[in-house]
């Protein structure tokens, strides 16, 4: 399993109800269903990913997240997950509100555009960063919102969202002390576990 998913796995309690937004081929959900006995659903629109989930027996729903999540009731899931997808949606801020409406807690992972390599790329080359992890050109990227570790923290603060814990990892999804000390500069992937303040 991808290392960021392993970190998330450690944070998740067994036997809970999980909604995984943009679940892809369902790697994390498959693990959680089979090893942590969670019940849950994935949302996806990629037809190959959908089929992979059906093959593996992961309950998956073909639903476009940008068209809304009104069909899910308030606080109807223990946890709403979104790994490496928030930057692809039209209004990440409203989506986070929706996630916290549906789930008691949320775990969100995203690529940190504040990473030193991205900064250096832009500063020296004067062009939008293209990396191994984010291999797209500006015009064809599905990632329509670029934001940093700090941007996300600030949004949480503005929205009065409680950060239960966070982790920051490098391009190989490894955790190091220097990343933890300066996550905005050194992390390539940020992982946040959030909830509404009681």
């Amino acid at each position: 399993m991808r290392a960021d998913l392993e970190i998330i796995d450690e944070w998740i309690q067994p036997n809970i109800r999980v909604l995984d937004l943009a679940c892809g081929p369902g790697e994390l959900l498959y693990h959680l269903i089979n090893h942590k006995k969670v019940s849950g659903y994935g949302l996806e629109i990629g037809s190959e990913d959908l089929n992979t989930c059906i093959q593996k027996g992961i309950p998956v729903l073909e639903q476009n997240i940008d068209e809304g999540l009104q069909n899910f009731e308030d606080q109807s899931f223990d946890l709403v997950l979104m790994t490496h997808a928030l930057q692809q949606f039209r209004r990440p801020d409203l989506l986070i509100d929706e996630m916290l409406r549906i789930g008691k807690e949320c775990i969100i992972t995203f690529p940190n555009f504040g990473h030193w390599r991205s900064r250096l790329h832009l500063a020296l080359k004067g062009r939008m960063p293209v990396s191994e992890f984010m291999p797209y050109n500006w015009y064809d990227t599905p990632n329509i919102h670029f934001f940093t570790f700090q941007d996300f923290e600030r949004l949480c603060h503005e929205k009065d969202i409680k950060v239960l814990r966070w982790a920051a990892v490098d391009g190989h999804l490894k955790d190091h002390w220097w990343i933890r000390s300066m996550p905005n500069l050194f992390s390539e992937t940020a992982i946040f576990h959030i909830s509404r303040k009681a």
Partner: protein, 393 residues
């Protein structure tokens, strides 16, 4: 006819008839003292009878779902594209049963059968049967065939309603339900379409209040008209446009009421062809079964509450251009299942064919059904499935 039976066909099949003498109490309050069901089977039932799939048909379907009755047949069964060796509903793995529902006109007891009490054709006196009655009679057929639990119950449209009813009525008797292009109940507009269809039949002077067989007549105009209307609602605007556009019969307008546009000719042909194979009373009865279906009525309209009884896994499929049973209607079922915490997957398939899409072998649709049923097969017969696929090779 096929010059040779295609390799992915179930081949030549012979319908069978099951007689039931145990009276069947119907939802409407009447009782059928005895009745028969005609059915076909494809594939082989395994030793522990764990590999059975029941196919439920829609409004005008029947028991002939796959294969050929005769080498002279022009067409195979109505769902041959989905049922067969290595097809989405794989007869190498599964034992598939398709029947003609009670009230039908293709060999099961219905309006064209003889009423044992009066020794006359039932006609319009045949009691109205509901989806619940069908499911009850299907369960009795399963008993007769020695099937306690189905691996899957599969149906499109009205057939999907039967699969849904199974999951509520006999939750322990199915491992999975595949519900395609269906709805938890009809919309007002759907009931309205059905009423126009019924009125066009009833107002045909050849209908004789449903006793047309006694009067040696057939309400072909009314039934044909009902089918024409139905047919329009099964297609999408785009599909009709692509198929016919404004293609004309003649080079110039004729300025009369004959056939000007090809679509008119097509609809007349469809309507007329239907009257040769289908009974008007059965058509009326099937539309009533559709209208009455509303399982959530038992729980004050709360679909999730009634579906909380279900124990099986679900696969729901809808089609983007289906406006008779739109994706939103399938999503009502999906959302209720989520609320009830049931295992459900849902695929919304891009298709141009409208409601009729459920009868077409659209690759993504077939793939989703196949992936789902393959995993169910591995689950219900973990060792056998491997052995059988070896055998199939």
């Amino acid at each position: 006819m096929p010059d040779a039976i295609p390799v992915d066909s179930v081949g030549l099949v012979t319908p069978q008839i099951a007689h039931f003498d145990k009276p069947l109490m119907l939802t409407c309050g009447q009782t059928l003292a005895s009745y028969q069901l005609i059915y076909e089977t494809y594939g082989t039932l395994n030793q522990d009878a764990s590999n059975a799939i029941l196919i439920c048909h829609a409004l005008s379907g029947d028991h002939h779902a796959a294969g050929y009755h005769d080498m002279a047949d022009k067409k195979p069964g109505w769902w041959d594209s989905a049922i067969g060796p290595d097809k989405a509903i794989d007869t190498n793995r599964y034992f598939v049963i398709a029947l003609n529902n009670l009230g039908g006109c293709c060999g099961s007891t219905g309006p064209t059968s003889i009423n044992p009490e009066t020794k006359q054709v039932w006609g319009a006196d045949f009691p109205i049967v509901t989806v619940e009655d069908w499911v009850e009679s299907q369960a009795r057929l399963a008993d007769l065939l020695g099937i306690q639990t189905f691996a899957a119950i599969v149906g499109g449209s009205l057939g999907g309603m039967q699969a849904l009813e199974w999951s509520i009525r006999f939750p322990e008797r199915l491992k999975s339900a595949v519900i395609v292009a269906s709805a938890p109940k009809l919309s007002t507009q759907n009931i309205a379409f059905n009423e126009v269809a019924r009125q066009s039949i009833r107002r045909d002077p050849d209908f004789f209040d449903g006793r047309y067989l006694d009067n040696e007549s057939v309400p072909t105009n009314g039934l044909g008209l009902a089918r024409m209307l139905g047919h329009i609602t099964y297609l999408s605007d785009d599909a009709m446009g692509a198929k016919f556009g404004r293609q004309m019969r003649h080079e110039e307008y004729q300025y009369n009421y004959g056939i000007e546009f090809e679509v008119e000719s097509y609809l007349r042909y469809q309507g007329e062809a239907f009257t040769k194979r289908f009974d008007a009373n059965t058509y009326m009865l099937m539309t009533k079964a559709l209208d009455y279906f509303d399982p959530a009525a038992q729980t004050n309209g709360d679909l999730a509450a009634i579906l909380s009884r279900a124990q099986c896994e679900f696969l729901l499929v809808s089609f983007t251009t289906d406006w008779r049973f739109s994706p939103e209607r399938s999503e009502e079922i999906v959302n209720a299942l989520i609320k009830a915490g049931k295992a459900v997957s849902y695929a919304k398939i891009e298709a141009t064919e409208g409601h009729d899409a459920f009868l077409f072998p659209i690759p993504r649709y077939m793939q989703a059904m196949n992936s789902f049923l393959t995993r169910i097969a591995d689950q219900v017969m973990p060792s056998a499935s491997q052995g059988e696929s070896e055998h199939a090779r």
